[in-house]
Subunit: 465 residues, 2 copies
């Protein structure tokens, strides 16, 4: 180990209490991008982040305008001849409902045992914070082994609406050799993992309207359309009895899973019982003919994420509502054509909906999936850094969730991303009681420090082929 890296690791190990206080401050800002009432918190968070980046030693730190929430940029470009790493992250978080299921306030950042509980602890303020602390520790040794740029957006949880235009407007500024995307997780501390593929996401709101006004179910029930019935019929028909999605043409561009990759995926240290325990679900269920890991990473899925209509209060109200709606989303496999999914959904509804029912479909988010070169020297650097910190070689896998920016950066800048983040599957991201293991986060800081060290040995001119 070189002396600077050893010093960096010593620093990281000695300042844990200080880091914990900083992390708490970061997690206590309720930066929910989807809710209008949290708009001022978003700007507060953007300010906090810029200050933390300056403290870490980054330069040219600025909140850069978009038509929506600002992108936070910063850089440090004093490692001539070394690769330039673009660090990607987001400073926004998901809403916190159902609030009454949180055991401590979602923006309280309470520590219980090894975990810190807060919205954004795992997804993904914790990861950004860990990466910045690793940079700060390197800077204390006189500088980083690589050049750094930062692209931290504020709209990831609402579909990164303005990110593509921003990247296109600033392709020169963002030029780099590799992206370090910290919006990621490992399988577990005992068996860490790194993802080489991500699913895309298409998210829609569907509303059904069958009348001009709510009606009394006794006076009209049984003689007119009930929009909840129309909606449940439509949603129920979107899967067949074998778990296939029935939207016309939906599987046209889903690549067949090759035997070689099925074998690779089957090598993951996967266990049904562990998976169920992690998820909190009572039973496995999915498309016939595929393993759970294949269903999660290599096959598309369709989920209703929300549904509403009529009376939801206490007691009994005999209303026959005029309208009902649902949020539904598809996880897409690289190869599926994003723009066609809305057409397929509309075609399905048109053929399935009874006459005399009005409907609207609104696309609320659309992000592509991607597959990356897992044999690149940058991936090897990540594998080695994680191996050294966790004491075991990480396995490679396909991820079920979506990180559309990975594909965007492939398309716009021509660079792959290394998905390196230290959340875990049972962190409860997007749900109540989101948490982050503190010991794993500290291991994450060391991994980031070692990753930069390893990347510093790569010749960027030779890494492109």
């Amino acid at each position: 180990m070189t002396a600077p890296l050893e010093n960096v690791l010593t620093t990281l190990r000695s300042k844990k209490e200080e880091y914990l206080e900083g992390l708490k401050a970061c997690l206590r800002i309720p930066s929910i991008s989807t809710l209008a009432e949290n708009r001022k918190d978003m700007y507060h968070m953007a300010d906090w982040l810029q200050e933390a980046m300056r403290q870490a030693g980054l330069e040219n730190v600025a909140a850069m305008d978009t038509p929506g929430l600002p992108v936070i940029y910063g850089d440090w470009l004093h490692a001539p001849g070394k690769p330039t790493v673009l660090v990607y992250g987001h400073y926004d978080v998901q809403p916190v409902d159902p609030l009454d299921e949180w055991l401590s306030p979602p923006f309280g950042a309470e520590v219980r045992d090894d975990h810190i509980y807060a919205r954004g602890a795992s997804d993904m303020k914790g990861q950004i914070f860990a990466q910045l602390m690793a940079v700060e520790a390197w800077m204390a040794e006189g500088g980083c082994p690589v050049n750094l740029k930062y692209l931290i957006e504020g709209e990831e949880e609402i579909g990164s609406t303005h990110l593509d235009a921003f990247i296109q407007e600033h392709t020169d500024l963002l030029q780099c050799d590799i992206v370090l995307n910290c919006d990621a997780m490992i399988h577990s501390a005992a068996r860490p993992s790194i993802n080489y593929a991500l699913r895309g996401l298409a998210y829609f709101e569907l509303e059904i309207c069958t009348a001009q006004k709510d009606m009394h179910s006794g006076m009209f029930g049984g003689a007119v359309h009930n929009p909840i019935h129309v909606l449940t019929d439509l949603l129920s028909g979107m899967h067949d009895s074998r778990g296939h999605i029935t939207l016309p043409g939906f599987y046209d561009h889903v690549p067949l899973l090759e035997e070689e990759e099925r074998t690779l995926l089957a090598e993951a240290p996967y266990d049904d019982a562990d998976f169920l325990k992690t998820s909190g679900a009572f039973a496995l269920h999915g498309e016939e003919g595929y393993t759970t890991l294949e269903r999660l990473g290599a096959r598309p899925s369709l989920d209703v994420n929300g549904i509403w209509g009529g009376f939801q209060g206490e007691g009994a109200k005999t209303v026959l509502p005029a309208r009902a709606g649902a949020k539904l989303s598809m996880r897409l496999i690289p190869g599926q054509i994003l723009e066609e999914v809305e057409k397929q959904l509309r075609a399905y509804i048109e053929q399935a909906i009874p006459e005399g029912c009005e409907w609207t479909v609104t696309c609320q988010s659309l992000g592509p999936g991607s597959v990356m070169n897992w044999k690149s020297p940058y991936m090897q650097a990540a594998v080695e850094a994680v191996s050294e910190v966790f004491g075991v070689k990480p396995f490679l896998r396909r991820e079920g969730a979506s990180v559309p920016v990975v594909r965007l950066l492939q398309e716009r800048l021509g660079v792959d991303s290394i998905m390196l983040g230290f959340g875990q599957p049972d962190d409860g991201i997007h749900g109540p009681n989101e948490k982050q293991s503190l010991s794993v986060l500290f291991q994450g800081m060391e991994s980031y420090a070692r990753f930069m060290d390893r990347v510093g040995t790569i010749d960027p001119a030779q890494s492109h082929d």
Copy 2:
């Protein structure tokens, strides 16, 4: 016309402005029985009603305890040898959501053109108020032509939970020859109607739970049960493609509709286009093989009254929820065995739900339907009173909605009910912008006054057979 009746009608016609002020005061009390936060308003309403009854000249007016909200009683028993009429009504109202669809505040009692807009205007404070004004006008002439008793409950909109026990405890007090049930409506002012049959109601809440906690749809979607999918599959399967309800045994005790009654029902001045306009619905839909009027009055129906699960806010949240639920209710035909409906629902769910899903069914309301003797002298009195006021003979029909108290009073006191009230189908009861036509309500006052006059000519000893 006898002099007293003529004087009563003159009184009713001369005091409309005064009545309107009284009606507004009554409608401004938010007596929502299902919501805990409106509990004090319920008692306020009970006090207001007792005062109005005393003002009308009734005696022994009192709020009588039940384990829930009080029943308001009153009587006037100074017409020896004349029939005793038990007036039934309720002083509670439905909740007001969706609040943002009301054009004026639901408890503002705003008058626009011929209508007064308020929750409870039509269902049914307006009707009780009209009946009391008719009594008051008779009292001003020295007394009523009939003996009167009042049974005004505060829990009709929450299933009349304590009414049966109350009636059983007070059968002597409530003895009567006929019930005048004001919780009713006419087809229209041009073609008034009186109901002789009512559907029953069974109301349930169903909840599905597939996991211990909400999950991220990207991490788990496609590999575990989504409770919204389970719920929509269950609800969708409750009707077959012909509009039949699929709960096992559901039609076992539904009486066949005889040809004679189909002919009677077909005589109603019914028109699809008018019906659609009144309902506000865009299209008719129902059980194959039956007309709309048959579907509404003579066939059972099943409606989902509310549904919820997952994310219902603005924007996109990729949650895979742990639970989802629905309110569903069945309108039942006299003959169907109330207690069996829950068993049928449970049997359906047991056979249809996938393994690994937890579910609960809670019965929230259970009320029987009833059919009455439409040839009795009391029914004739009602037909004649309405004929004289509206200038056209009312037609008789089966009603789709439920008024469980009608069956209760048949069972416990052995008396039929005359359903005489002056709401109309397009009043929007239970929905936003509930309204009552003021001109029709004033015609209702006259109808009640004439009804009492006619009933005063019936020999109660001969009316029982």
